[in-house]
């Protein structure tokens, strides 16, 4: 039918608008992690509060745990810190900290000042472990299951919403 071809530009435009509308609610800067569903990259790093001791990822197999990437120079980390303290106090899931590209002295001082929610923090001075985990912005939080597989990544500070709606239910699920 002749009329159809004249409507093609309109049809294309309608599809375009639909996509643009959906796009309004997305964040183009967010980089999703390709590690979801893959084994957590291995590490063996000294602990921040006990420098003579090393922590490796295999030490943590058999339990569900959170990896929280933080640093004393990170401003947004202060935002989520109270939440982390509450989470740690509730003893639902152990939180391990990755002190990313930080001076250990400054890291310890920061924890002393703001509170230490971490079962242990490990020191990643040159950022290599961070790169392995695909860290590109601090803070970030990973949920790792009993087999050592990464199940979720939170980009940016933790929010109460993210905790209640995504992380805690997932942890409960994985704990079964």
């Amino acid at each position: 039918m002749k009329a159809v071809r004249w409507s093609i530009p309109l049809a294309i435009f309608i599809i375009l608008v639909a996509f643009l509308y959906v796009g309004l609610w997305r964040d183009p800067r967010e980089v999703p992690s390709p590690l979801i569903g893959k084994p957590a990259p291995s590490f063996a790093l000294t602990q921040l509060q006990q420098p003579s001791q090393t922590l490796t990822n295999s030490d943590l197999k058999g339990k569900v745990w959170l990896l929280n990437v933080w640093a004393s120079w990170c401003v947004s980390c202060r935002e989520e810190h109270p939440l982390l303290m509450r989470l740690a106090a509730s003893k639902v899931v152990p939180i391990y900290g990755l002190d990313y590209k930080d001076d250990p002295g400054a890291g310890k001082a920061w924890l002393a000042q703001n509170g230490d929610p971490y079962t242990a923090s490990i020191v990643d001075r040159d950022g290599r472990v961070g790169i392995d985990y695909g860290v590109y912005g601090v803070p970030e939080t990973f949920v790792v299951d009993k087999q050592g597989v990464i199940r979720y990544k939170q980009i940016g500070p933790l929010s109460l919403e993210a905790l209640q709606q995504k992380i805690l239910p997932l942890v409960r699920e994985l704990d079964k």
């Binding site: 009329a3 996509f19 643009l20 999703p32």
Partner: protein
């Protein structure tokens, strides 16, 4: 007081725009001359009111009125006067007001240069431009008023983004917007033609100068943006296929197709519905570009502070304006009718190919720009589409179009005998081939890509000359001079614009093929040699600036051992924002640029500036040809528009039309 006056002026402008958008349009539909005559005064009043509002905002900036939120966020009392003025459009709200001002300006111009337009056509054109003004004014007043007060007023402003404290800032946005907004005239003509049901060669003749002027401004605006990035951003690049750059490039590609398509419609009455569609698409892309920059949908260096609510508003506006136009097109374009016929080898067929290639190029850029968004919206992951994609797709599409650019002007309308074309162009082909084969060796290195680029550039030059020669030869005038004078300005404008393309291609090919970069650590007194040049680093010294602290480096440049210049790259820290900026030092030359910028002090210690530094040195052969070429293109466009026949023939033709067809006008 003054900001409130500005705000009030905007509200009044909105009311007038509502009148402008509705009354003349109704008048055209009902054939009521009284209603149609509202068009001119309404458009002029609206334009003046917006100008008043803009003046009020500019006043607030220039007089450092930090009780206005926008001024406090984007300006600073230490800012030099011309940047305080330019800061008026340095924010989302201000630049939107600039857009609206330009729209008013173009509407005003249409009321001035339209004495011979039939009243229904003028009424419709003005009304549609009024409709667009309504949209922008509503957007300004409802979501983005630049006149918001800050209570209590700030003692000092936060400063204009240092990247914007530059002459480029003073010119790039206004010229760019002149282009974007100028396409609204062609758009309005197209919609008016669809509404009125009359689309003929005369319509094309009216639309053409408006479109060409808008296109010329857009060309300059884009070139300025590219040049600005080159010397401001510090790493010698001039085009990144960044989403916002693409947002300006797509209307440009469409506009180029449009001016060529209008030529065919004007001269041969062909491609009518395609021309109308192009006019709609060109302006639609301007609007989509506005959306992309302000909605947060794509990341870009250019993006203004984002807000989904604003995005929804613009998207709704887009949907109404563009969706409405395309719906009108779907409904009415079929009635527009077919035009002249032409053979397989003819100027029309080549212009058609040019249009198709440009349209495909535009669609490809659109695809690449929006593809990450598509995938993300469908939850198929996040990818990036950058220069490797665009370069791979764009150049192969443009190469045949550039080749055709040499053939088109020589081809006859309707039927161009192939043997004639070959005869006229064979030596142009020869020049192209020889340049491709020999020049690269002379310049230092042969590669297929360089050769191909040089072939195209030389081909364009030679074929353009061939076209002029053919004209002069086949003219019946006695002397060469009178033969040259017999050609219209419009013809020379085309030649100049095409030459500009050739210059541009030469610049791009040569700079990409032969540029050299060195990124080195230099101690004070140490040199680096690049080709025939030697760059000797003399150290960095601190010094003050008007609103920044500067660290100025000195680099002596020697060519073949002889000192030719001392370049002074800078690193600045702006007082108000603390933001650092790298200012490159460039020795600009016709045959190439020497470009030096500072990296970081070697020890990473900000206090140790007197020691070794990282220094970036570039040699960029023929890079300025890129912008020279663009400038020539724009100049060609403006030259073409100054052709006498646009001023005379419109009067003569329209008088005849008006006298002969009162019945036809009544049937509208």
């Amino acid at each position: 007081m003054i900001p409130e006056l500005g705000h009030f002026a905007l509200i009044l402008a909105l009311l007038v725009a509502l009148v402008q958008a509705s009354v003349p349009l109704t008048g055209a539909a009902l054939d009521a001359p009284r209603l149609m005559s509202v068009a001119r005064p309404a458009a002029r009043a609206q334009a003046l009111l917006v100008a008043l509002a803009f003046g009020c905002l500019a006043w607030a900036f220039v007089s450092n009125d930090f009780s206005v939120q926008n001024v406090a966020t984007n300006s600073n009392s230490e800012l030099p006067l011309h940047y305080r003025f330019a800061a008026t459009w340095g924010s989302h709200e201000g630049s939107l007001l600039l857009w609206t001002l330009m729209l008013g300006g173009w509407s005003f111009a249409v009321t001035l240069f339209s004495r011979n337009l039939p009243p229904p056509l003028l009424a419709r054109v003005i009304s549609i431009m009024g409709l667009i003004s309504v949209g922008f004014l509503l957007f300004l007043l409802l979501t983005s008023s630049p006149f918001e007060r800050l209570v209590p007023p700030a003692a000092e402003g936060r400063d204009l983004n240092p990247l914007l404290q530059d002459p480029g800032m003073v010119f790039h946005p206004p010229l760019l917007y002149m282009g974007y907004v100028g396409f609204s005239v062609a758009f309005s003509f197209a919609i008016a033609a669809l509404l009125g049901g009359r689309l003929d060669a005369t319509w094309a003749r009216w639309s053409r100068p408006w479109t060409t002027v808008a296109w010329s401004f857009l060309t300059i605006g884009i070139a300025l943006g590219s040049g600005w990035a080159y010397y401001t951003l510090g790493w010698g690049g001039w085009w990144f296929w960044d989403p916002v750059e693409n947002a300006s490039f797509m209307p440009w590609l469409t506009g180029t197709a449009l001016i060529h398509s209008l030529a065919v419609t004007e001269k041969r009455g062909a491609f009518k519905s395609w021309t109308v569609l192009l006019a709609i698409v060109a302006f639609s892309l301007s609007l989509v570009g506005t959306f992309l920059v302000r909605s947060g949908v794509l990341t870009s260096v250019h993006a203004f502070a984002t807000d989904p609510a604003r995005g929804v508003f613009i998207l709704a506006f887009l949907a109404i304006v563009i969706g409405g136009s395309l719906a009108l097109f779907a409904w009415r374009a079929a009635n527009v009718g077919l035009g002249g016929n032409f053979s397989v080898v003819s100027r029309e067929s080549m212009l058609l190919a040019n249009n198709i290639l440009l349209a495909v190029a535009m669609a490809s850029v659109l695809l690449g720009t929006l593809y990450p968004l598509f995938l993300d919206a469908l939850n198929l992951g996040k990818i990036s589409v950058g220069p490797p994609y665009f370069d791979a797709v764009f150049y192969p599409l443009m190469a045949p179009a550039v080749f055709l650019m040499g053939v088109g002007p020589i081809a006859r309308w309707r039927q161009a005998p192939l043997p004639e074309l070959l005869t006229r162009l064979k030596w142009a082909l020869g020049v192209g081939a020889i340049s491709a084969l020999i020049l690269p060796f002379v310049l230092g290195r042969w590669s297929p890509l360089i050769a191909f680029g040089l072939f195209l550039a030389a081909w364009v030059f030679a074929a353009t000359v061939a076209s002029l020669l053919a004209r002069v030869k086949s003219s019946h005038r006695g002397s060469i001079l009178s033969a040259l004078r017999a050609n219209s300005l419009s013809y020379y404008g085309m030649l100049l614009a095409h030459l500009g393309v050739g210059v541009f291609i030469a610049g791009v090919t040569l700079v990409k093929g032969y540029e050299v970069e060195r990124d080195v650590r230099l101690d004070v007194g140490e040199s680096v040699a690049v080709g025939r040049y030697e760059f000797k680093f003399l150290g960095v010294k601190p010094g003050p600036g008007p609103n920044y602290r500067a660290l100025t480096g000195a680099v002596e440049v020697r060519k073949d051992g002889r000192l030719i210049e001392t370049l002074k790259p800078e690193k600045r820290i702006y007082n108000a924002s603390g933001q650092p900026m790298t200012i490159a030092a460039i020795d600009t030359g016709f045959l190439g640029d020497l470009y030096v910028s500072l990296g970081e002090p070697v020890d990473g210690n900000a206090d140790n500036i007197a020691g070794a530094w990282g220094v970036r040195v570039y040699i960029k052969p023929f890079v300025d040809w890129i912008w020279m070429g663009a400038f020539l293109m724009a100049l060609g466009g403006l030259l073409a528009v100054s052709d006498r026949r646009y001023r005379l023939a419109i009067g003569r033709r329209a008088a005849a039309v008006a006298a002969a067809t009162p019945a036809a006008a009544a049937a509208d």
